[in-house]
């Protein structure tokens, strides 16, 4: 079992509310239990073929995907439910009760983030943290202090392992 909760060093502090470090099995179960989860993948994904695979595997478990940046280039035609959206727009719409989601099926309750620029996601999560009730789960290689739950800072290989374990628990 990979312990993803250890190194939670952050770059700068933001406030008192800080993400809870989470282990992959717990994260996996949490996603499974979610009524309307959404996997949000970013363009950093494209830098690692293996990460792309993990994202597709998660998506194939029936989790709809929002592809931000140009990450969709690696996800089209992969037989998964994926749509492009700008992450700043997404962050906003997620907090809007009138938004019916990427597929018109209603709002999401759990949002999972993978493959984003750390400093950029930190900001998007800050908006979600402060202005919505959403559960935000960061399964990134870095500890995302503004998420609800987050992996700690991990080495790339440990990160991939952790994602595997998460997938097992879906």
């Amino acid at each position: 079992m990979v312990d993803t909760t250890k190194n939670t060093l952050i770059y700068t502090t933001s406030g008192r509310k800080v993400a809870k470090p989470v282990n992959p099995n717990v994260a996996g179960k949490m996603i499974s239990k979610a009524k309307r989860p959404l996997l949000v993948v970013g363009a950093e994904l494209l830098k690692d073929e293996k990460l792309i695979e993990k994202a597709i595997t998660i998506a194939k478990k029936g989790i709809p995907v929002a592809a931000t940046g140009h990450s969709i280039t690696a996800l089209v035609d992969k037989d998964i439910d994926v749509k492009y959206i700008n992450i700043h727009s997404l962050g906003t719409f997620l907090g809007d009760k009138n938004w019916t989601g990427l597929d018109g099926q209603g709002s999401y309750d759990t949002v999972i983030f993978l493959g984003h620029k750390k400093y950029y996601l930190d900001q998007v999560l800050s908006g979600i943290k402060n202005f919505t009730d959403l559960k935000a789960l960061a399964i990134e290689r870095h500890f995302m202090q503004n998420a609800t739950l987050s992996f700690g800072n991990l080495k790339p290989e440990v990160h991939l392992e952790a994602l595997d374990e998460l997938i097992e628990n879906l």
Partner: protein, 803 residues
């Protein structure tokens, strides 16, 4: 005028004198009347003057807050954690505080520009007098921002003082609202943000008009000369004089001294940041050749200093690294400060002789000097550079580590990740160190272009490894080849150019203006700018550059060894590439939009901001891109564009500005305007979709640019062109057709001819539109009609029948 005595005096002592009196209530209106100009409803608007317009914009483009910090530490009631939108001790909630934070950034930027403007205006009036005419080229509307905002049509330098008075008064009013216990509503802080942004463009315009009029800068010159750019273009064998900053007031004295003393070939004069741009604009009108080289942006400052090449550094103001003196000291480079905004604690030598100052600095009695007397400065800087060059050579100053040392330093690394954590871009420094142990320094070389040269890595390293020096040393070959060409800033778009191109813009047949402005905080290196500009230019967009982006664009060459400045012409026409100039020249970009409304569409401009903004919002397909936006000035510029309805995309770092203005395309009620012909409501496309937002990568940016150039006023040809680019760019860079392309289709003639049939099929199959296949016409489906004579407006009072 200038010989009139001040004070109280009786008129009958004077004869045949013209006296200009400002500040009388109604003064602007009266002056305008005399000149046959109609003044709109809001000359010199106060904070509430354009609030209704702001609230209209903000109801469609809602503020999105992403706090950088959950806490407020403004006053000593606090510090308060506002997490979860809680209220602080003064009662302010998170939203209002974040809006206030944004306001503070915006007015800081506006102050930087306008304080620069005030300084240079004082300076130029001292030399040329208040009556010196404003001359910026073949235009009647010389100051579009100024005139639209204040109602003043400035003709002389003296006229600009009243404009500055207004800007300063308003910025002070806005700064006051940052105080504890002022505005309580986020929406009204947002209105203040837009007010601050608008003021910024006036301040910038004043700055550039003043310097263009006096300093021989290009005046709407489509043939402005090409200028050498890049760290590689500096000949380090000569004495090197490095100038950093934004305000060229003092630097011109140095340039004149060099020229007058035939030192042009004996000294390398290089500039960093916008001072560099304006140095190369100095005295180049009418075919003059640039007398300085551009080294690059803020991102090159530390690298340039650390190279040890400069023999003397002169700084003025803005975007100058705070550690210049400390860094220079280590390499025995004297630093001269020349502006009250940056004095570095150095002794004020303004009243001393050049000889004494040179003596003291060259003997390291002081590490630098403050010189506010520009005659003295003009002599000291170059003479000292010549002297220091020899002294520093004799001293054998060593700057960067050797290759052997690189390996040793790599070995010191304990892979603790502190550098990567603190690096603003989280660059993979550890991997470079790892490879460095095996004498493979290629990974350091890869870091060079994506590194913004901030030096946080050095600060973070617990082992005191000079990471930045290592990157620079490993990249010395690349750096040597870092030379390109930038077109010198040409100044504003002239009235005749507007007359020629205005109609294409409004109808959309020129697909849009892409204005690439601002700083060097790129998410993925400088090359992205080249990629964006080249793609959009090929597609016939007008690409306008300014400031640091204008510089960085000049550093890259295509396969033919050409920079884009060489490849594309520089007129205000489709497919042209324009460099307006330095940071303050950004005002010409908004000025262009105002001019289209005023000159092409004949809208009254004086004190008529709302109508002008409304016109631009609905008709001019322009998108600003501040891809490397880092500064408060950048957000100020963006906010000024926003009040005119011009959308701006910033790079991912821009999310740290804390707030975006994003519309909801799915909220149909938000995408309606009036038809000014009868005041009826009409639906419009959801474009621009935002006023300020971020994009993650240039690949994402491309379709955003194309899409957000769509405007209600597009004719069918225009819409077809824009839609084609949107679809093509989406397919090229995102690998798929955009989800929402059909929403912009009003009629089959909006569809690209080549793909029309195929697209009609999709419309029928996927979206249930009815198609008359015989005539290949759309029968039903679109939510909007195509009606080129419609007059979209957001402002009820501008509709027929309204007062």
């Amino acid at each position: 005028m200038s010989d009139i005595e001040t004070g109280k005096f009786s008129i009958d002592e004077l004869e045949n004198v013209q006296i200009t009196i400002g500040k009388i209530v109604g003064a602007i209106e009266k002056k305008a009347k005399e000149e046959g100009v109609e003044v709109g409803p809001t000359p010199k608007p106060g904070i509430s003057g354009l609030r209704d317009w702001d609230h209209k914009l903000l109801s469609r483009y809602q503020p999105v807050y992403t706090p950088v910090c959950d806490q407020c530490c403004y006053c000593t009631f606090g510090k308060c954690d506002l997490g979860g939108n809680k209220e602080g001790a003064c009662g302010i909630n998170m939203e209002a505080h974040q809006a206030r934070e944004t306001l503070l950034r915006v007015i800081t930027g506006a102050a930087a520009h306008s304080a620069h403007g005030r300084h240079i205006l004082h300076h130029l009036i001292d030399i040329y007098g208040r009556d010196k005419a404003i001359d910026v080229g073949p235009s009647n509307l010389v100051a579009p921002n100024t005139q639209a905002v204040t109602g003043i049509k400035p003709e002389t330098l003296g006229d600009l003082e009243e404009v500055m008075d207004y800007v300063e008064e308003q910025i002070n009013q806005l700064l006051a609202t940052v105080h504890a216990g002022q505005e309580g509503a986020a929406i009204d802080f947002e209105s203040k943000v837009l007010h601050g942004g608008m003021l910024d463009h006036v301040g910038m315009e004043v700055s550039d008009l003043a310097q263009m009029s006096c300093l021989g800068m290009p005046k709407s010159d489509t043939e402005a000369p090409l200028v050498e750019i890049g760290m590689g273009c500096i000949d380090s064998k000569k004495p090197v004089l490095l100038v950093i900053g934004h305000n060229v007031s003092g630097v011109t004295y140095i340039m004149d001294y060099i020229h007058d003393h035939n030192l042009d070939d004996k000294i390398e004069l290089g500039g960093l940041c916008c001072t560099a741009i304006d140095m190369t604009r100095y005295k180049v009108e009418n075919g003059g050749q640039p007398r300085a080289k551009v080294i690059g942006t803020l991102a090159k400052e530390l690298k340039m200093i650390r190279s040890g090449v400069p023999d003397v550094i002169v700084v003025d103001e803005q975007c100058v690294r705070a550690d210049v003196l400390e860094e220079a000291k280590k390499l025995s480079i004297p630093v001269i400060t020349t502006n009250e905004k940056i004095m570095y604690g150095l002794p004020n030598r303004s009243k001393d002789s050049a000889k004494d100052i040179i003596e003291d600095l060259s003997t390291f009695k002081d590490p630098g000097a403050l010189i506010l007397d520009y005659d003295t400065l003009g002599e000291v800087a170059p003479e000292l550079a010549i002297k220091m060059s020899k002294i520093r050579e004799d001293m054998g100053i060593k700057a960067l580590p050797s290759d052997e040392e690189l390996q040793g330093l790599s070995e010191k690394c304990v892979q603790c990740a502190a550098c990567e954590m603190d690096c603003p871009a989280n660059l993979p420094i550890m991997a470079a160190m790892k490879a460095g142990v095996d004498k493979d320094f290629s990974k350091f070389e890869e870091l060079h272009d994506v590194c913004i040269g901030c030096g946080r890595c050095d600060q973070a390293c617990p082992k005191d490894i000079p990471v930045l020096d290592m990157i620079e040393q490993a990249s010395r070959k690349i750096i040597r080849e870092e030379k390109g060409l930038m077109r010198a800033g040409r100044g504003q778009i002239s009235d005749p150019e507007i007359r020629e191109e205005g109609v294409n813009l409004v109808l959309g047949t020129t697909p849009g203006i892409i204005a690439m402005v601002g700083c060097s905080n790129y998410p993925n290196g400088t090359r992205d700018l080249y990629t964006v500009a080249d793609e959009m230019l090929k597609r016939n967009y007008i690409v306008v550059m300014s400031g640091c982006s204008a510089m960085d664009l000049g550093m890259y060459k295509n396969e033919d060894g050409q920079t884009l400045y060489e490849k594309y012409p520089a007129k205000f026409l489709a497919g042209n590439l324009i460099n307006v100039g330095s940071c303050v020249s950004n005002s010409h970009i908004t000025g262009t939009a105002i001019k289209v409304a005023a000159i092409f569409a004949q809208r009254n401009v004086s004190g008529n901001y709302e109508e002008i903004a409304d016109y631009i919002t609905n008709r001019i397909g322009a998108v600003g891109v501040a891809w490397g936006a880092y500064s408060q000035k950048a957000i100020a510029i963006g906010s000024g564009c926003n009040r005119l309805g011009i959308p701006v995309v910033v790079g991912p770092h821009g999310s740290k500005y804390r707030r975006a203005l994003i519309g909801k395309p799915y909220d149909e009620a938000a995408w309606k305007v009036y038809d000014a012909r009868d005041g009826s409501e009409m639906p419009i496309p959801s474009s621009p979709e935002f006023l300020l937002t971020t994009a993650e990568s240039v690949e994402e940016l491309f379709p955003m640019l194309a899409k957000n150039c769509i405007r209600p006023s597009d004719n069918n040809m225009g819409r077809m062109i824009k839609l084609t680019h949107y679809m093509e760019l989406s397919q090229k860079y995102l690998g798929h057709m955009p989800e929402d392309w059909y929403k912009f289709v009003r009629t089959e003639t909006d569809l690209p001819l080549a793909k029309r049939e195929q697209l009609l099929k999709i419309l029928e199959a996927d979206h249930g539109w009815e198609i008359d296949w015989k005539r290949k016409k759309i029968i039903s489906g679109p939510t909007m009609k195509s009606d080129v004579s419609a007059q979209p407006t957001n402002v009820k009072r501008l509709c027929k029948g309204e007062c």
